[in-house]
């Protein structure tokens, strides 16, 4: 197991390295560059463009730019953002807590409430609860996230004024407010964006859990156990949850990077200062340093997610570790 783990981590790092290079070249190869944005609103001259090109190092060959990036990245310096004029590392560090908070909350709710509901669906298959839960969650899944967000912001934030419609904090909160008050403020701002994301995604863990449990419950040993008089729920808790966890863990591994790097639409509708919105702005501005920083973060998230899932499979079912 230990050797397998070491090998697996090595693979992850290698993948990260190759992905980084691929992302760098992909970005340069895509049409458009950071200077294109200039000419959008204000009228610019050729000298302006040339001067800026030199300033951002864009007049050097791509390989030289990549070498410079690598050299900096190894030292922990991800460069300076072209649109924000500040170090990329600072920008990401500022926004990461907000993304983690939102993403973490959504993952938590999805993988607790979602799994419980899916289990309930499986145990009551074919009955009203199963159908109702299924259709409600699917209806939510089928709605675009910006739509749900706008709807919630309008209803709850604007019409009923129960919760804030946008932002992460109240700017009018006095500076000497205590930690509890500040936490409450953030929590109030967190509800709507988190709820939006849960509504549009909870169907997935629910359905995977339901399907996996149904498969598990169809096993002959379950029939035996129930013939012996055990309630279905007991059978589930004792035997069926292990195999059912495989698809759930896979989903978790796939979703980990998504929720950490943020949902662009939800962050934008609720003005939640997370990485997703930052990355989207970087894309539309072709802000190469910032793009590399956020893409690197996402790549780390992906590689970590699959690693966590693979380790979990092995822990869950020792037979998996054998090749």
């Amino acid at each position: 197991m230990g050797r397998w783990l070491a090998g697996r981590v090595l693979q992850a790092l290698l993948t990260l390295a190759i992905a980084t290079a691929a992302i760098f070249w992909l970005m340069r190869a895509a049409p458009g560059d950071p200077l294109a944005r200039l000419a959008g609103e204000r009228q610019v001259s050729a000298e302006e463009v040339a001067a800026l090109r030199a300033r951002y190092g864009l007049d050097r060959p791509v390989s030289a730019q990549f070498a410079a990036f690598l050299e900096g990245a190894v030292r922990g310096d991800l460069g300076v953002s072209i649109s924000h004029h500040r170090p990329v590392g600072d920008l990401i560090a500022e926004r990461l807590p907000a993304s983690l908070l939102l993403g973490g909350t959504v993952l938590l709710v999805n993988f607790t409430v979602g799994l419980l509901l899916g289990m309930r669906q499986a145990l009551r298959r074919g009955r009203a609860a199963d159908t109702a839960l299924g259709m409600l969650s699917l209806a939510g899944y089928a709605m675009p996230s910006f739509w749900v967000g706008l709807l919630l912001a309008w209803l709850v934030g604007v019409e009923w004024r129960l919760l804030p419609a946008a932002g992460m904090r109240d700017p009018l909160l006095p500076l000497d407010a205590g930690a509890l008050e500040r936490a409450r403020d953030v929590a109030a701002h967190l509800v709507l964006p988190a709820l939006t994301l849960v509504i549009v995604s909870i169907a997935a863990p629910m359905r995977h859990q339901r399907a996996a449990l149904l498969e598990a419950l169809a096993q002959p040993f379950v029939r035996t156990a129930r013939a012996k008089g055990l309630a279905a729920r007991t059978v589930v808790w004792r035997h069926a949850w292990r195999p059912a966890l495989f698809p759930i863990l896979t989903l978790f591994g796939l979703w980990l990077p998504l929720f950490v790097t943020g949902s662009v639409f939800v962050e934008s509708v609720f003005a939640w200062p997370g990485i997703g919105a930052l990355a989207a702005e970087a894309v539309s501005a072709r802000d190469y340093p910032l793009l590399m920083g956020t893409a690197l973060l996402a790549a780390v998230g992906v590689v970590t997610g699959t690693l966590v899932a693979d380790v979990a499979y092995a822990l869950l079912d020792p037979r998996v570790g054998e090749t």
Partner: protein, 553 residues
């Protein structure tokens, strides 16, 4: 088991939320100890802003930093020597209002003299002197440091100080907009704080993190990406600001900004429309007031006059002036503007936003005339030979693509309207929505048939030179429009010392006759402000600049 896990996790998250205050916000709380004492004026206004003003330092707002958020914030912190008056007349020496300069006189046709207001002070208490003006002009006129400002200042010969409070500005030639050029483009900077820093070091310096200005509001703190807080400067020499605190709340999505306004989390918002539907939603709130003001935007279909594949040859379809005129006549521009902006837009007679004082000199834009359009196309040899609804000539169908940035829902809808209108006269218009940088790249390379452009103009009509003159080809004039007569008229109007109106009138008429574009809309910007603020005045060329004159109940 799961229930206790959920409770534990929630507690952890709540703690995380409390701790999630970025460290940098705590560091940039400059002057917080004195914050309450320093702002004895009551009242707070929360203004929703589309972008975080990361670099609101005059002469440094280049390239990606040249956006309205930076300009707006710079206008609160820094003052100009003088500003154009309400009529926005930029030619001549009349009608300007004092800023840092108390008065100005003209020594001769090439020299202006400014006397600074002795009461003007930087936020750290140091008086504003002529040295600061000279310093700022030196940075602004250097194309290496500030290419965007160096261009309009190209006729300034030198700027010198005469004593502590007198600035002499000398020009290389005599022209009508000398006073405008000397005052609009440059905000004086504190030489005592910046002279020791190399120009390239200012952006990362402590000054950039907490700028020291001389305007009605001074910097308090910023939470990067979220808010900027300013406090009133009670010693502001032009008057005491009426509102004690200004907080800019940043939200990139227009929906989020509107929701903040409607829910009371923001007090003021600019550019409420488009979409027009927002007007009704705001009007339904009795506590909000709409404040229309001329907008510096103008939108138009720009016709590419050069061949996309070979820039030395004329465009096979749009190179013909009759085709261009036909396209302009076929578009029902009035209904397009009304559908998008309701009563809040004009159809311009040329490339003129509502900010330009010359826009009505040649009369209004003509109404649509599809019959005349058809006649022009037929006279140019376009016929529908195969009956498919699209005209052809020499085997080439009259098919054009109009490209636009995908982020603009407004332009997208207008393009679809135009598509339908042109279909009725036999022109096939394809709508091509492109990712922003791709759109701009194609635009700059001249790789388009029609470009749906939207320009944001300075108050001076001399800006027309960049996009509508032969000299602009290779730069902003991406469509290759070149008319020597237009060039000579515009150049003459710019340098004329007498009233340039007749020259501008002829220039506009020439442009209309050449039909290099179909000018679609010159909107009115509609701001929304909470009714508890009184004396609300919005400057067309710089929205929130007169914020300090407002008062709050």
């Amino acid at each position: 088991m799961p229930r206790s896990a959920v409770v534990c996790a929630c507690a952890v998250l709540a703690a995380a939320g409390a701790l999630a205050e970025p460290a940098s916000a705590q560091q940039s709380r400059a002057g917080t100890a004195a914050q309450s004492a320093a702002s004895p004026i009551a009242g707070t206004i929360v203004v929703a802003m589309p972008q975080f003003p990361a670099l609101p330092i005059p002469t440094l707002m280049e390239g990606a930093a040249a956006h309205t958020a930076n300009f707006d914030l710079a206008d609160q912190l820094f003052l100009r020597l003088a500003t154009p008056g309400p009529s926005l007349a930029t030619a001549g020496d009349r009608g300007f209002e004092p800023g840092l300069a108390q008065r100005w006189t003209r020594r001769d046709s090439l020299t202006l003299v400014f006397d600074l207001d002795p009461r003007a002070r930087w936020h750290d208490g140091v008086p504003v002197t002529a040295k600061d003006v000279v310093f700022a002009f030196a940075r602004a006129r250097d194309p290496q440091i500030s290419p965007r400002l160096a261009r309009p200042l190209r006729w300034v010969r030198d700027v010198s100080a005469e004593g502590e409070r007198r600035v002499i500005v000398r020009f290389t030639r005599a022209y009508a907009e000398q006073l405008f050029d000397a005052t609009f483009h440059v905000h004086p900077l504190p030489a005592h704080l910046l002279a020791s820093l190399a120009p390239g070091d200012v952006a990362g310096s402590p000054f950039a993190a907490a700028p020291v200005g001389n305007g009605p509001y001074r910097w308090v703190r910023a939470v990067p990406g979220q808010t900027v807080e300013l406090a009133a400067n009670p010693a502001f020499h032009l008057g005491r600001p009426g509102i004690g605190r200004v907080i800019f709340r940043i939200a990139t999505s227009p929906d989020a900004r509107l929701n903040m306004l409607l829910s009371g989390e923001a007090d003021a918002l600019d550019n409420v429309i488009p979409p027009l539907a927002n007007l009704g939603r705001i009007a339904a709130r009795p506590e909000l007031r709409l404040v229309p003001t001329p907008s510096p935007s103008v939108g138009y279909f720009l016709f590419n006059q050069r061949d996309r594949a070979d820039r030395t040859r004329p465009h096979p379809i749009l190179g013909d002036v009759n085709v261009r005129r036909a396209l302009v006549l076929a578009l029902d521009r009035q209904s397009m503007a009304r559908a998008a902006y309701g009563p809040y837009a004009e159809v311009p007679a040329g490339p003129m936003s509502q900010l330009l004082w010359i826009r009505h000199l040649a009369g209004r834009a003509p109404a649509a005339n599809p019959a005349e359009a058809r006649r022009l196309l037929a006279a140019s040899g376009w016929r529908d030979a195969d009956g498919d609804g699209t005209l052809e000539k020499d085997g080439r169908p009259l098919a054009l693509g109009v490209q636009l940035p995908s982020t603009s829902l407004l332009r997208r809808q207008m393009a679809v309207q135009a598509q339908e209108q042109l279909r009725r006269i036999g022109v096939r218009l394809d709508v091509v929505t492109l990712d922003g940088p791709v759109w701009i790249q194609r635009r700059n390379a001249g790789d388009f048939d029609i470009d749906f452009s939207s320009a944001s103009q300075d108050p001076t009509p001399s800006g027309l030179l960049q996009s509508w003159s032969c000299a602009g080809i290779g730069g902003s004039n991406v469509a290759g429009y070149c008319s020597p007569r237009t060039d000579s008229l515009i150049n003459a109007a710019i340098v004329s010392r007498a009233d340039p109106s007749p020259l501008w009138r002829e220039a506009i008429r020439q442009i209309a006759a050449d039909a290099p574009a179909a000018f679609l809309y010159a909107p009115t910007a509609v701001y929304a402000v909470h009714r508890r603020f009184e004396g609300v005045r919005i400057r067309p060329e710089s929205g929130w600049r007169d914020l300090w004159r407002w008062s709050v109940r």
